[in-house]
């Protein structure tokens, strides 16, 4: 693979569509999303359960559970297309180029093998190393993720580690072949709050040190605010808004993002009722016409119920909302405009 130009994004997702064929018709779980992740960048992906965050991650690494399938779009890694690779080639991308971390560290490790063996087999799968070299590297990695006495702990089994320690081992496993990108799917959800912060800080530090980009999937806006460079807000299988994290948090453009931000408790604002978004996300087989958020949107107007908005640039942010449509902005400037 030729060295990509410096300005080329590490990961480029174009018009990705993921579908689940069912007896009662095809369900479109991810509907035409496009985004990119730059080298070494942390992209946060937020949204409610079922918004398609995890599916996006699974689609990128080619691990959609059948019958789910990529029905359209393209995924590029370093300029090379990866969504149409044959399974054996895709397998070599996983772990080597794209690492993954899943939600539950308690169940991500095979209980019957020592963590050293699990690390070594991953290392020797992807890197040209002998067993002894792999073991040495495994010990270094364990030290790097903050496991005390790694030369002893390497021969221990998963059940001999606590949840936080196990998640550190999982991070070591995801990093062990020096991938360019890590997809971290709710990496701290199953952990104690006090340990969550440690794990996030660790992940952030390691990825900065190794120059690894991260796609951080979470529903925790606080984690995003602390960790991510940019954030993509997903709703009902589409991206509602994507932009630099400060910008999106301070000046949310999409009413859904505003709603999400309003629902975060902050230390300064005690005694106030937290805002909540009324209603629930639509089911996949009942996505409303127009903007999927329109039944819950406080600022809904006629166009939202008819026409579906695509992402539109608005400064450094892109937002899929008719409130920010260029023609509307123009109309507003001209003093016309409805609603």
């Amino acid at each position: 693979m030729p060295r990509p130009p410096a300005n080329q994004p590490l990961l480029q997702v174009e018009n990705l569509v993921v579908e689940f064929p069912t007896r009662r018709g095809v369900l479109r779980a991810i509907d035409d999303i496009s985004f990119h992740i730059d080298q070494g960048e942390v992209l946060g992906v937020v949204g409610e359960s079922g918004a398609g965050k995890s599916l996006t991650g699974a689609a990128i690494i080619g691990l959609l559970e059948p019958p789910g399938r990529i029905a359209g779009g393209r995924v590029f890694l370093d300029g090379g297309r990866i969504d149409d690779l044959p399974p054996e080639k895709m397998r070599r991308v996983r772990g080597k180029q794209i690492g993954a971390i899943f939600q539950d560290p308690l169940t991500s490790l095979n209980p019957l093998y020592s963590i050293g063996r699990q690390l070594a087999e991953t290392i020797t799968t992807h890197l040209p190393m002998s067993e002894a070299e792999a073991r040495k590297r495994a010990i270094e990695l364990l030290a790097e993720v903050g496991i005390p006495a790694p030369d002893k702990r390497i021969d221990h089994y998963p059940h001999q580690f606590s949840g936080g320690m196990r998640q550190r081992v999982v991070i070591a496993l995801a990093l062990c072949a020096n991938p360019r990108l890590i997809i971290a799917d709710e990496p701290t959800t199953a952990l104690d709050v006090s340990i969550q912060a440690q794990i996030i800080a660790l992940l952030k530090r390691l990825c900065r040190d190794h120059g690894t980009a991260v796609m951080l999937i979470t529903h925790d806006m606080g984690v995003i605010a602390e960790t991510a460079d940019r954030v993509a807000v997903m709703y009902a299988g589409r991206i509602a808004e994507v932009g630099p994290v400060r910008q999106v948090i301070k000046h949310a453009l999409h009413p859904y993002t505003e709603g999400l931000m309003g629902s975060i408790p902050s230390v300064g604002m005690d005694r106030q009722r937290l805002a909540q978004i009324d209603g629930a996300m639509p089911r996949l087989n009942a996505i409303p016409q127009g903007c999927a958020f329109n039944p819950r949107c406080p600022k809904v107007f006629d166009r939202c119920r008819v026409e579906r908005p695509d992402l539109m640039a608005q400064g450094t942010t892109q937002v899929a909302c008719w409130l920010h449509a260029p023609d509307r902005a123009l109309a507003k400037a001209a003093g016309g405009g409805r609603g």
Partner: protein, 330 residues
């Protein structure tokens, strides 16, 4: 670990005592062996003489204590029918049965496990469906019918394999084996398949069900995300996690094989313990019956002990010291 083994051994002793009691009571409740030994025209004196010589005239509890004492020393008395020591008779027959059971177990593992893995991974494959359909035959057809069908096809029509007996055996002094001669091996094929077919299908279906379960777990998903090869995932990570239930069932089934060998041995006139046992029942040959019962129970107990120890080899969570098992984590 040691405490566990000791506890298991004590349980085994209890089981053996119970079985021993049942074996002993058979002497008193199954017919009158003297009637079967002597002809209808024997005199009352003859009967009494035989009764005394076999020790059947003494009171219940004396006979029981004597029975236990002898059993511990491996003495089960004299066969009423054959007039030989029971242990000698059984020792003669045991290699035949054990070789048959061993072969059947080997067949069932060597075929059942790979087929189970295959059908578990290729859940919707055409071949998987074919295997599963055929496995229904193994599960539902009774052993004797399968044996007779195999004899009909391979011995009567095709004349490929012998229909009965054990073929030539080589006597190794303490063990007579059919593994070393061609006719011995040829004779072994049909009975071993007959005996092993049910276990094969059972193990296949068990491995398949366990594989389906394991393939859904997070650690398999994570192993895929780490880019491990299919082979490493399927046979390393997945199969090993299915082993504990498979070992359990296989262990129990080997005990079952010894017991079910009675039917197969009868169909194929295989000179093993099962056939001997059936003949012993016909003649109310109680010493043979009770010794067989105790021997089979002993094998069951030993297999179960071996199974428990195998768990330790497979699952590190059991191997760890007890504190860690109860949830002490570092």
């Amino acid at each position: 670990m040691t405490a566990f083994v000791v506890r298991r051994l004590m349980q085994a002793v209890l089981v053996m005592l119970t079985v021993g009691f049942i074996a002993f009571t058979m002497f008193n409740f199954i017919g009158d062996p003297v009637n079967n030994l002597v002809g209808p025209d024997a005199t009352a004196e003859d009967r009494e003489r035989i009764r005394v010589s076999l020790g059947l005239d003494r009171p219940f509890y004396v006979q029981y204590v004597k029975f236990l004492a002898n059993a511990v020393q491996g003495q089960f008395g004299t066969s009423f029918r054959l007039g030989m020591k029971v242990t000698t008779v059984l020792a003669e027959r045991m290699p035949a049965t054990l070789e048959l059971v061993f072969s059947a177990a080997l067949i069932s593992l060597c075929i059942g496990v790979p087929l189970g893995v295959y059908t578990g991974i290729h859940r919707r494959g055409v071949l998987s469906r074919v295997f599963l359909t055929f496995s229904l035959i193994g599960i539902s057809l009774p052993t004797f019918l399968i044996g007779i069908l195999l004899i009909l096809i391979f011995s009567v029509y095709l004349k490929w394999l012998p229909s009965f007996g054990r073929g030539q055996v080589v006597d190794l002094g303490w063990w007579s084996t059919g593994f070393l001669t061609q006719s011995g091996l040829r004779s072994l094929i049909l009975p071993a398949i007959t005996l092993g077919l049910f276990q094969t299908t059972l193990i296949m279906r068990l491995v398949r069900a366990e594989m389906l379960e394991v393939m859904r777990t997070d650690y398999i998903k994570f192993a895929r995300a780490r880019g491990l090869s299919r082979r490493a995932i399927n046979f390393g990570h997945a199969l090993k996690n299915t082993l504990v239930p498979v070992i359990t069932i296989t262990g129990l089934q080997i005990g079952g094989l010894i017991a079910f060998a009675i039917i197969t041995e009868t169909v194929f006139q295989w000179p093993g313990m099962g056939l001997l046992f059936l003949q012993a029942i016909q003649y109310a040959d109680v010493p043979v019956m009770s010794c067989y019962l105790i021997l089979v129970a002993l094998m069951f107990v030993m297999i179960n002990l071996a199974v428990d120890l195998l768990y330790y080899a497979v699952d590190p969570r059991l191997r760890a010291d007890r504190g860690a098992v109860r949830g002490r984590q570092v």
